[in-house]
Amino acid sequence: MRATSIQKISELQRKPKCIRNICILAHVDHGKTTLADALIASNGIISQKMAGKLRYLDSREDEQIRGITMKASAISLFYEKESKEYLVNLIDSPGHVDFSSEVSTAVRLCDGAVVVVDVVEGVCPQTHAVLRQAWLENIKPVLVLNKIDRLILELKMEPLEAFIHLQQTLEQVNLVTSELFTTEVMEKKYQQTDGDQEGTEQTYDWTEDADEFEERNIYFCPTQGNVVFASAYDGWGFTIHHFAELFAKKLGVNSAVLEKTLWGDFYLNSKMKRIQKGAQSKAKKPLFVQVVLENIWAVYDAVMVRKDKEMIEKIIKSLDLKISSRDSRHNDSRVQLQAIISQWLPVSSAVLSVVVEKLPSPLNMSEEKVEKLMCSQSRRFDSFPVETQKLKKVFMECDSSEEAPVILFVSKMFPVEKKALPQNRQRPLTGQDLSLRREQARLRHAARLAQKNSPDTELVVHQDTGQLADIKDDSGGSAAERPTMKADSVQEEDDRDQVFIAFARVFSGTVRKGQKLYVLGPRHDPLKALEQIAAGKKVDLDGTLADLSKDQHVMTFTTCDLYLFMGRELEELDCVPAGNVLGLGGLEDYILKSGTVSSTVACTAFTDLYIEALPIVRVAIEPKHAGEMDRLVMGLRLLNQADPCVQVLVQETGEHVIITAGEIHLQRCLEDLRERYAKIEINVSEPIVPFRETIVPSPKLDMVNEAIQDQNQPIRSQRLKEFEEDDEVLDEGLVQIYTPNKKVMVQIKAVPLPPEVTDILDNRQSLRKTMYQYSKQYDHSGHVQKLKLNQETAEAVQEFRDKLDKAFCGAGKEWKGLVDNIWAFGPRRVGPNILINGMENLNHPSIWSCIQEGNNQQNPLQEFDQSVVSGFQLATLTGPLCDEPMRGVCFIVKKLELVQGKSGRSHSKKSLVSHMSSCLEGDSSRDVSHTLTSLNSEVNIQSGEINANDTHSYVTCYEDGHVTDGDDSESSAGDGADRESMMVPKQHKKQETYSALAGQLISCVKDGCRKAFQTCHQRLMVAMYKCNIQATTEVLGKLYAVIGKRNGQILSEDLREGSQMFNIKAFLPVVESFGLAETIRKKTSGLASPQLVFSHWELMDMDPFWVPTTEEEIMHYGEKADSENRARHYMNSIRKRKGMKVDEKIVEHAEKQRTLTKNK
């Protein structure tokens, strides 16, 4: 039975002086949960025998199976020392790197921490991490050196060896702390020097720092009483203090002196009965060995090694212990040992007494911590309004009186099954309940009787049953529909068996049921909120998270259920005063992952949790059965809320991607999704990685770095060989193509864009979007009211144009001045590819028209314009290599001609409005084009007239107003005459053909672009991650091997100041990143973990279609060279994924003859 009742605990909760909020931190498998078990056993919640085996706080099934803790869980313990009662709110935390976010949530709620270190393994990576975390959150740690039994039984150390080993371990731990300290000091100095740069050169007084050092007692030292030696598994633990008291009398030394000298280089001079220094130099046994370790060793020796019955009894007698006969007769000597030693030196009291003595109560919260909690580094505390600054005092006092404002911090939301809630649990029936039931039964019986007797009493029966229902409602089962569930419209009824409970701590005031509190969002600014209230603004605060507007950060919330954490169970409470950890129900609609709840708006939102491990492992998930998509989405939402360190996103491709901190974390998340949140089967796959396609100028070197001698010949022939028979291809990159009905001819040239231009284009996507939207409005035939761009955007556009112009000019002669000829961007009208109008005489309205005033001319080619641009958009969206978007490609429309098919004229080609670009034209064309322009303008005028007649005619008359090509210049005048006669619009006939023509033109332009692209040197571009890795010196080599294997490039490595860590920066292709984190961790035994951020697109300088041609290449790569070509490998895998044709043999070698058996 439980040693403490809820009443007792809630009584204690009111005395902040007697509360300790602590968490247990350590590396994985150093014994946190075992220690927690021992502490829990001391409260009688679990049996002493089961302590260490049960792992009470590991309530999840997979935690038990895997044997690691995966979540932080809390329990309230009662401890009595020197007739003082204490309440210890203990939070157990996971040790695995993947779950370090859980550690963050635990640390935030505590004032002190118990850091456990396995003496055999010493300081491990996570020990570093947790110490840093404790340091950053300003919580005070005590140290438990655990698993000392392993020194005795496994390593078979002598007491003296063990002492030295312990000393070394302690030093290691202290080294970490001092590293943290120096780093912080150095950072502060940096900030200071940054602050007063002009100030005189400062000399740092290191001695002063050291003083400060001492003062803050950051070191662990047994004599300080903040170190416990323990073996949680065997259930024993002690502090120096404990032994000092035990042996003071025996040795005849003052216990205070003994306490000071028990640890360290002291020995007992038995002759002089004095304690002297310098045990090591005099080869004497240090006091610690003599007094402490040897005794423990003796017990182990007797029980475990020698199994000496008499000796055991002697020990039991001398220690004055009572061992039950069952234990002493037990066959397993370990059980005997545990029984003896855990009675002699119970670990729970050792740890708890240290906790109670050395760790601060909520009352002693340091000023520093309060400020750190309340404001982030970017903001000074003084900048908050006075009301907020006043709150600091409240914090420090931990005032739980009624007047004090309520402030709570929710560090995580965690799911609880509805049936596990105390309201829904079955309870033993009380006397009252019984009598109630009896009454009900009686009524029922009476009703039945009455019904039998006469039908008139039916009314009464109804009343009665109504009553019955009421009674039932009151008697316990009703809580199911308590307000916790209300306002939850997203979830369906059957999915509501999960309830989120906020894991929170009260920092000030008292929380009661039914209290109205504000939930403060992370960006809440007390200053603004106060101003708003002062201004008398009525703010609607009744929303939930879902319907919260953008700049509203405050919501109101009525507290409903308060719980006390008892490990796996929850106990209901009515009110919780300051300084306690509690569970708060009904917040799931208000708080996503963590948040601040307060009764005053003046309170700031607490700083975000510091999370050590950022999520990096990405996978795409989808339901196994396609119809269960919405359940998956809902499950993902719940998962996102429940886990502080998971990111869920929907990608543009429609994939649902979850990003977790590591592989184990991922597995847990998936398990949760399958079992708890979505309850469906799911499939996990590598996320789809995007690629880009581009073209490059002719390479000058071949694959074995030999210069290609004849610049044009071999390469060109190679590339163009495939297109030899294709008469549409004119030159490298230049394609001439007709629509299927042979009405329109276009000539398109593909050129790689200079990289600078692409870079500029990359950065201005949104700007181009605005420009496009603007032009859309404007484009539409004049009647739409013109929307003026605001000044800012106009300037930005201007700047964009100038930059582009400059980049173009820098790129070479042929690019000069092309800025004004830009027709469109693509794909999606904003992408990094350009369509350029290369027809000299076609005055397409510039894309810059939004900043150029008065340029309001009608577009003479409007109808075709749409089609050409659409064709271009489609082509750039799906490139020919593997249907991925293009990047950095420029298409120049050289010609766009209308071919008059059946006109019977000698020359069938009729230029629409355009001409060959200069290269093909002779000198004579100068004046020709001149005349043509004039003709053009005429056409424009005339078409203008027509437009005046019917502005929106489907087909405008340009087709009729054709002008001859340059070759036919002599006849142009005649043509002009002709044109006059042909001015009679043939609209009706053409109308039918137009829409078809538009469609044909689109596909024609698209094919043209693709073909032009194909005739150039095609390349794939891969997305690159920028990869930041922190690692220690020992693992650098292995780390480089991993990165090298995945085709990464190391950029730099720097030693971080004041520590042994290297910062390594590298680029890594996104395709190769799957599983990277896991491999790196495995190879470096967890000492390095990467962080990945998308950085840029990188050209893969390898032709996916490349085959060795020169002798050297064949020698180097063999005839097929398919193993080397990564570009081809990527391309083929994408094509396979998309179901496109892949140039791969179905079988590599034909199956040759086989000898048949007789019967076949």
Partner: protein, 252 residues
Amino acid sequence: MALKQPTGQKRLTNVAVVRLKKGGKRFEIACYPNKVVSWRNKVETDLDEVLQSYSVFNNVSKGEAAKADDLKRIFGTDNQKEICLQILAKGELQVSEKERHTQLESMFRDIATIVTDKCVNPETNRPYTVTLIERAMKDLHFSVKPNRNAKQQALEVIKQLTEKEIIKIQRAQMRLKLTIPAKEDKKLRAKIRKIATKVELDNFEEELVMVVLIDPGCFAEIEELVRSETKGKGHIEVLSLKDVEEGDELLE
């Protein structure tokens, strides 16, 4: 039937036969299975990997070689290799198991990719992934017909998916901007509203300007409507072919 001695026979097993009927005669060549398609796709370039022997048969399984004068008469040459090449290029072939399998598989993928491309999840307005569509197609027991083109079959899949409600799916909507002269606005407006799934903008000043979302299948219908009703004076502009959510979204 002539008695055949086992000796002196070269028995061809594991054969894929390519046939060509020309000049009233049937010619066959013996190839290795799974190789002919690769040859036709110009992936396989080594003829020895394709042909079992360079001789032309009348019947491969019976081992009847073609007569030389027949070849000469019909093909105009007696070079067996050249004739083999001709038959390889033009003859009808027996598609081998692996070839059929890859063909069907890639077609299946292709169909799924087209469906993915054309459709969205109506709730989120985001596309489904190819794998999900593939799975839905499997649930649908959709069988690929190798002789119909992928796009037709994709449309069929979409129809069946929406009918049987295996997943919530919808064609990605097309966004159109219609400009209709003032005269016809009344009668057209109602009709357009009937066709369109959503009317985003309905502005009447001098002329009617509407921005609507329609099912891409209705485009021809709406185009016809606008053209006939306005006698060619109405104007349709395609604002976007596919109205889908862009960019990544954090799920919260």
